[in-house]
Symmetry: C2
Subunit: 210 residues, 2 copies
């Protein structure tokens, strides 16, 4: 695998990638090829970073036992975050709140994703922690171009120490996102967005775009 190979494999037009990149939260258990994982990370590290420091580290979780353990931590963290908002079980999430139900299913099945890529910052400075986000977006776009589903998930602060211990992470490093990766159950598709006019101004806030 070379950088050139990854560039060639990402042959899908940019527009097709971006405009059909719904978050994929339900994954098939089928394994993902090593070369696909490498291509995702090759694509990620092409992103810009503050002063080109490249403050990122990608920890790929593929071992079944490590995935199972991490899945348990993730599920616990997910429910801990909901408990902060008074939600203590599935019965507290309305059936019509499809995003929350889908996130719940994902949390419960997290350990079954064939691969989880932990996008880490190598220092705890704010500029380095936010500096890994453009690379994460590149990773998601590359996944879409390779037919792989993925989504960004956050870790609850209460499990930071458990995650650090599970993966032998050095002191200064931080997990910024956990990205489950696999072949999608269900389809890729467009996202729903507010009209462009609501999200734009020209020259002064509130003036419409030309």
């Amino acid at each position: 695998m070379t950088t050139e190979a990854t560039e060639d494999r990402l042959s899908m037009p940019l527009g097709e990638v971006m405009f059909g990149m719904r978050a994929i939260r339900r994954l098939k258990p089928d394994p993902v090829a090593d070369e696909d994982i490498r291509s995702l990370i090759e694509a990620a590290i092409q992103a810009p970073s503050p002063s080109n420091r490249q403050p990122w580290h990608f920890l790929v979780v593929r071992d079944a036992e490590q995935r199972r353990r991490f899945g348990e931590i993730y599920r616990r963290a997910w429910w801990a975050k909901r408990a902060d908002a008074g939600i203590h079980g599935p019965e507290d999430i309305p059936a019509e709140d499809r995003v929350a139900r889908s996130a719940m299913r994902m949390a419960d099945e997290f350990g079954q994703a064939p691969a989880v890529i932990l996008v880490c910052a190598t220092s705890p400075s704010v500029i380095d922690m936010t500096g890994v986000i453009p690379a994460t977006q590149n990773l998601l776009l590359a996944a879409r171009a390779l037919g792989l589903g993925a989504t960004i998930t956050n870790m609850h602060p209460s499990v930071v120490d458990d995650v650090r211990a599970l993966f032998d992470m050095p002191e200064g490093a931080r997990v910024i996102y956990a990205v489950p990766v696999g072949y999608p159950r269900g389809k890729f598709g467009p996202v729903s967005r507010k009209p462009l006019a609501e999200a734009t101004s020209q020259d002064r806030w509130g003036q419409p775009l030309a």
Copy 2:
């Protein structure tokens, strides 16, 4: 202009976009078409955001006087940041520090960029401020696909109030990045990155990737 038109215009293969996307800091003064600006923002808002809140606002600065004023603020902010590090003028930046010299030139010429897109968060919460970063990366990739140069720049905290006043920004909104956009002086090209092995681990920190 429709969303479909933007999708069709972004026909460059993803790999070609990502692997040739050097930061472009020197821009021609030639104007950028309205439809190009709209396409950049259409592409940006396809990015994911926390709970799909879409916490972004894109303020496009095109008016010559607003650009001039913003350019002055940016230059002042840039030098203020350098002063924090003991750098008070061009003579303090070594000729061999090409990134710093290039950033200095950009700061001095900022007001001459034909367009500056201010990527704003609509709330000052950390999750919303970081939530606009994936959209910013989409914007940069779309610029590359349309042959436009762009780069991410940060604002120094000391000028936040001046920027807010210049653009009539509402209280809760924050400028996260200022992105100058225009046709490049010089060429697009690949970036230099550390080897993949240094930025990756599998299953435990420090174990090589499969």
